[in-house]
Symmetry: D2
Subunit: 375 residues, 4 copies
């Protein structure tokens, strides 16, 4: 019980259900004095919004944020910030069937067992991808905070869909990651990904993919060993996004095939600062940021909902039956997951930057000056 609280200083509390009144979040621990309003959130909600591309689920939700507390006169107050998105386009028709005949790949069965049937099963309830609205609302605040205080920049993008993969990426390209609905910064690869998606959709199937995150301007030393290192807390948060089955940093699983002489990032002097010659570590060593870009890859399995009939069990008769999942769903969750991953990563970094003393409890009105004096 009580698993809906994340973080120690920039504390995020998620609530709400897919087909309930709303999905919401409370952030406790954001410093006072950050300029913040609905627009800062809405721009990320819009990036995640369904129905804006033929490759996204057709559920028509405006997904407008409603800030309930913690903001006054355009600034955060230091009090907890509660935000909700009210659900509008709810269609719970088929879900009582799925409660009885669990959809393969979904959490219908385990949720029913765990909560002895009391769970709100409409639309998957707490297990719906819609819950990531919490991540996005809290994360958009974290993104603003990190940018304002530390100039941290978080760029996720669609690295792979099925077998189609972006090989090399430049930071310039990353700026254009939202220029197509696939969130793939390479337009040639994006085209190929569309082909894959078209074929998948034609067959009523779904497909997985990989999101890569590149985080720039992270100061050295963020992360608290041994249990609250950056890899530890980033992976924990990322696995809370429905559909994630793997997380790796830097060379990741490939590093398990490498030799030390090949893997070790050598230290070098660039200008007057210490840098690394390569980045197999993915910007994190010993759980601490090392000043290099942080590189994380997140593997998403294919969405569970497909329109092909599948075998399952009728939990009342305990007989095997066939089920066809109706309703609206994404053929691949990766494109819409891109802003969710950015938001989730930001939550963890905001928490850790605060723990490490890099973000003060109040950003006074002369914060710009203060920043200059300090550096």
């Amino acid at each position: 019980m009580s698993g809906n609280v994340l973080g120690k200083r920039f504390v995020v509390v998620s609530f709400g259900e897919s087909h309930g009144r709303c999905v919401g979040v409370v952030v406790d621990g954001c410093p006072a004095g950050l300029p913040f309003d609905e627009r800062d959130v809405q721009k990320y909600l819009d990036l995640r919004r369904p129905g804006t591309s033929r490759y996204y689920t057709s559920r028509l939700e405006p997904d407008e944020v409603d800030i309930l507390s913690g903001v006054f006169n355009g600034y955060t107050t230091g009090a907890p910030i509660a935000m909700v998105v009210w659900n509008r386009d709810v269609d719970s028709d088929h879900y009582s069937e799925y409660h009885r005949r669990p959809r393969p790949g979904h959490a219908d069965y385990v949720a029913r067992v765990k909560y002895d049937g009391f769970n709100d099963w409409r639309g998957g309830g707490r297990f719906s991808g819609r819950i990531t609205l919490s991540h996005v609302m809290a994360g958009s605040l974290a993104i603003k905070l990190l940018e304002y205080v530390l100039s941290v920049k978080i760029c996720a993008y669609t690295k792979r869909i099925g077998d189609v993969e972006v090989d090399k990426i430049t930071y310039e390209k990353l700026e254009r990651r939202y220029s197509n609905p696939l969130r793939c910064p390479d337009p040639v690869i994006a085209k190929k990904m569309e082909e894959v998606l078209n074929s998948v959709m034609a067959s009523g199937d779904s497909i997985g993919g990989v999101v890569e995150v590149v985080i720039l301007n992270v100061p050295v030393g963020i992360g608290e060993p041994v249990f609250d290192g950056l890899e530890q807390d980033l992976s924990k948060a990322l696995f809370s996004i429905p559909g994630v089955k793997g997380v790796e940093f830097g060379a990741g699983f490939e590093s398990s095939k490498m030799r030390g002489s090949e893997f070790n990032d050598r230290l070098v002097v660039r200008g007057s600062t210490v840098r690394y010659e390569s980045n197999n570590m993915g910007g994190i060593v010993g759980g601490l940021s090392n000043g290099m870009p942080i590189i994380v890859r997140v593997a998403f399995r294919p969405p569970s909902s497909i329109s092909i009939p599948q075998k399952t069990v009728d939990l009342e008769t305990l007989k095997e039956v066939d089920i066809t999942v109706r309703g609206r769903h994404d053929p691949c969750i990766v494109p819409r997951a891109v802003p969710v991953v950015e938001a989730t990563v930001a939550i963890v970094l905001a928490d850790h930057a605060t723990r490490y003393g890099l973000i003060p409890p109040v950003l006074s009105k002369e914060y710009g000056k203060f920043k200059r004096r300090d550096s």
Copy 2:
């Protein structure tokens, strides 16, 4: 700061340094009434102990556990259990050099920056693999508890070293995973792994690998969404083991290439219980255990210490220099990491089983009877 506490109910606190007085751990939240003494810990410490194979570091440590509190008359008391391993074979000769000239791959540089040089850099201090003694001590208690109350069985093994990989594994084979120093249950593959290690050692290099964990008899419904699901907390704990760069569950990164029709585990009836036909989910869906074996794979990068000269920076002169890392180190950390991974996984499961109410606060002397009555 304060990142050395893990868990919410079965709470683990790590302390100690590689070349300090000891490495220790406090477990707060273990139920009263569990039969427990030094032997339960020692057997796991022995599996992790250096110097017992030519493929392990030659540091000669008896690694004997000393239980300081929380156990009385052979049973846990419900009070916090403190345990330490006193360091014996400490050789800090070269470390002041590494503090000045950080070893590539190690945390020497980031630790120095983060703590402004105050960190205990001898032997890597808190960033040494030796810190996993904490994991093993606490984990051996968790293993005992899980077995005693829930008959949970945790089996990790060396899945891969470099390119040599175990393909298929049966649960019978898993029982023999500790029969060779490589902790590879397949003797033919183990032989090949030895060849790889021999060649790596001959060149003064190191190599990475993968540990796979199979967890049996986990009841349905363990894990607390949305942030404290099982994947979330297992990955967090596993990334606290030095050298881990990736964690995946079930089909993992492979699932990102799959279609939903292929990936989805269908529900079936076996006897009178609901099971899944396949296990691409790796026993976890929506962050909850689903009754199938939990399958986790952990990617280890090659150990940082190699005897080949490497480039680094002298932090006092800010000049690039060559460094040769002396001292005793493992050519591949995977075999000795196997018991560490088992212990780490157990800590998380013990925490979650308690949170989910499956482990009562006291195991009364008639616990055997109670268990029977309840099931």
Copy 3:
């Protein structure tokens, strides 16, 4: 920062401001299967509501609860339960003056310093007594849970206003504690208290008092030493109610004048159970409930807002000035604090009963039967 989360298992998160959109709360960790709806909350909100007696502030707030999540088909689902009360009768006219010229007794000055003026100062913002709506909403859920599962009964009442004090109280009388607006179960004393209040109000002043809580049917052994004992966590929660300046258990401060031979509660046998002959301990020893009624007394200082002119400082000119606090306020907070104290105590007990394993994660539909079988 981030001080708005209370508890470890029945976790309460408070948000909202006195003159903002709403005051709200999220409860994470309530078991699934508890029958619960708006009426369970409303009855406690009504007991706390302003404007229902001439002795209460005249702010006219309907204070209706709005449950946003976590309840489905009349039962809790195991998901976080978010509840809000929307603010209606907001009058922020004078507060910009108080932000500049802090009201003595209020947190205006310290809040301004702490948050560098970014705090929402309207109506006192987060420091208003109105914030206890969070306590009451979460607490009404806790009260229901404790009664449903453990038959715990929590009775607070007005023990003293100024010098007028209830001497002896029987549990029968406690049942009638809400029969008058003073929440004093003794009608003769209640009359005298009214006289005190009338005189205080006539002079534009305010007055303090004491709430006593009696908690019945608490099983032996609740509380987690050494830091999370019942006295520890009850006092922490009670001091979060604005205006509390002292908390004592059993004989409390009087016990500091007593001898051991007089204070020690002797153990006796009553029927077939062990009881105590007296209750100087107030039902808690070593931080653990001992099976006797838990007795807590909470001292409230007089409300800060009085209509008599007072000296303060103009923070912009740094000159001393006189201020007259306008607006609507209670002459004594104690009567309206009575349900708040009950709710607050319930939150702590629900958290601890869950931690001690007395409240299962799901209250199955046959919970009544289960309860019988178990006892």
Copy 4:
């Protein structure tokens, strides 16, 4: 379960038993760079040590601290600091009797019930006053930290024993609070207290008292509303000291008899700073420090152990019997509690000062300079 962890940033973990191997503590979250060694701890342990006055228990314990980790070259490293006091003079002879026939006033009975008899009952185990060695060890570190960074000064003293009370106290007198074994800064009153103790001891009885704490130089704004205010967290920590039955701040329980016009501390200008004319608030308003001295009073009940025969229950026969408590005990715990209260208060303040950003994660070697520049 798991109630032995206190704090969020300066995290204290207590372990050990009265008659076990040791009593110990881990502090996780102390900044790196604080000069610290055994002497800093020993001086507080010596103040708490038994056997150094005829008014203290005669258990002969050297109570020498052993620092196990987290300190290197005379400075804290930023890693967890583990400290233990090894038990030497253990005499568990009579305790098996008390386990069966619980001593009135002690936790023997409730502990046995809670842990179903598995608890280490020797010497009271975890419920012994000896557990406050943890508080003193961690607290001595906190005291050093607060003094070093913020010049905070914490002075507790014996305010009252039985009916003999110190009326007025000056801060100069407070400096001499350890000049007599009663820890009463007024020598005339101290004499009278001795008389009370002599008479109590002569009759084999015990007596209660009050400790008052005065905390100087606390900056404005420490404390995190609404649940983690200073009163909230100070009271929680203070109630973890065995024998405490009441905690009050400033005017405390007396404030419940006062009128607002009398109680409210007026703001005034002194020099160029805002101060309060009086200190009925005890230095805390709205849970935040207000810049005035923090005043806390802690009521201690009489020690439970008296040599007068008392009634109790034989838990094996369920018959009432008489018991005479043998062994060594304090006639009044207050004098030896004085350093414990100081240490406990320091832990909370160190935690909160860190949370509020007043204590940086590293105290660099030029910290003195940095401090000057900053102020």
